[in-house]
Amino acid sequence: MAETGLRSPFIPNTPEDRAVMLAAVGAGSVEELFADIPAEHRHPPLALPEALDEMALRREMEALAARNLAPGASASFLGAGVYHHFCPSAVAPLVTRGEFLTSYTPYQPEVSQGTLQGSYEFQSLTAQLFGMEVSNAGMYDGASALAEAALMACRVTGHARVALTNTVNPRYVDTVRAYTAPQGIEVYTVDAAAPALEPETAALLAQYPNFLGVIEDAQAQSDAAHAAGALYCLSADPVAQALFKPAGAFGADIATGEGQALGVPASFGGPYVGIFTCKREHIRQLPGRIVGRTTDAQGRTGYVLTLQPREQHIRREHATSNICTSTALVGLWATVYMALMGKQGLRRVAELCYQKAHYAASRIGELPGYGLPVPGTFFQEFVVYCPTAPDRVNRALEAEGIVGGLDVSDQVPNGMLLCINETHTRADIDRLVAVLKGVR
């Protein structure tokens, strides 16, 4: 049994400590403390590996990491909802400070003002970036934020039917379906260019730019939704908001987004943070944590979790959602990123995305066998028609240490969705073009 020796640097009790504590408890052994577990279930065989020391652990983990192709942003051209943007060096050391990293949900505001004010900044800056009136403190990710928007729209309108445009990220569509189906909410698809809504629809859900990178006529979508008595819910890219008109400008009732784009590492799928903003009139139907401003007993400005009766710990089965987390740490990452980028920086990043992507598109469009089959204004992503299966193209790129685009041949024949942004120099793009040219 594990009571002898010090095996772990994370457990301070010595055998002597344990002896003194067991005496205080009145138990003869640690095993005795587990006597409530039925004997036939107690201490089952446990087939786990033996402990690794830290050096052996690092060797193993580094070997695993080395088996992934992660060449850095400059040689990666994959986006589709997750983006390698440049992140200033100051972000990580601030966000990973132990006081932020190892605290929890700010239940005790007197000793959690750092987290609370950080979340208030997140709410302020995301609302401003999206041109919306209010924001919550954060959701899991962009996909589940859109799914929660669908549920919220049903609560606000009292209807149980939502429309999705045919250009929303398919993974988001799947998530919306998984969240809405158990509540008997019907989901149907409409043409993004001419959305025809059925009666008693709670919301029209759209994406901006859309899954294939194109900026759609959001105003027309918003008008169509409102004419049908539905809410307009827009899942928008946060960096694109710095260049193109923001969600709020189109009268969006709820605007969500994937906060990962705000400098957060791709990290093979998470953790990210979902952005969730809405019109002020709907705040009592918001899911998730919300931080509000108030004063303390000495009259000093401070921040607290507020509007809590919406939430699961009070309203239980009548809550607006079961969500507990605000993914505060990733929200803080996005906040520090926005603070450093600021008004000028984020606009400049967005313009660089636009310029680099358009340069790349024009070069690739000139290549024999390649084409740009999807018309429309785009931001940092566009679909390329390849002369062969996109997977073959990606293997050729991989041989040069380059991560290619997403295979979207199920939507566009031989289509590959490429992302080119501020992280790519002209030389990076020219290298991509040169490899593409050699693929037939």
């Binding site: 009592r284 009766p309 009070i314 309203r315």
Partner: protein, 126 residues
């Protein structure tokens, strides 16, 4: 505890006060506001809505709790205390006057007989 004699009370801690024009004002009692603590939001039926005696007509939220409001009589809501939207604390500060909730046109004034007088309600909450 303050308990005016001019009105009737329900066991759900609402009061009903008949008005000269035949309508009835409805609110919550001093006891109820004290139990709730700081009231931060009151969700009320809309004007022209129908309410039923002893059935839920709204909700009242304090900082960390939510409680249902039950109408002490049936009828049509003819007026809602709009001041509560921006100053819900009136329910705490003045539960019998400025913190009234709704004005109801009774469907059946005899229903008020099913309510308690101040003494009976006072005994209930003693």
């Amino acid at each position: 505890m303050d308990l005016p004699n001019d009105r009737s009370y329900s066991k759900e801690h609402e009061w009903a006060l008949p008005q000269p024009d035949g309508t009835v004002l409805v609110g919550i009692t001093e006891f109820a506001q004290h139990e709730l603590g700081d009231v931060v939001y009151v969700e009320l039926p809309k004007a022209s809505a129908q309410v039923a005696q002893f059935k839920q007509m709204g909700e009242v939220e304090s900082v960390k709790a939510v409680s249902e409001l039950f109408s002490p009589l049936s009828g049509e809501v003819v007026e809602v205390n709009t001041a509560l939207k921006d100053t819900p604390e009136l329910v705490n500060e003045s539960p019998y006057e400025k913190g009234w909730l709704v004005r109801v046109k009774p469907a059946n004034p005899a229903e008020l007989d099913a309510l308690m007088d101040a003494a009976a309600y006072g005994a209930l909450t003693a």
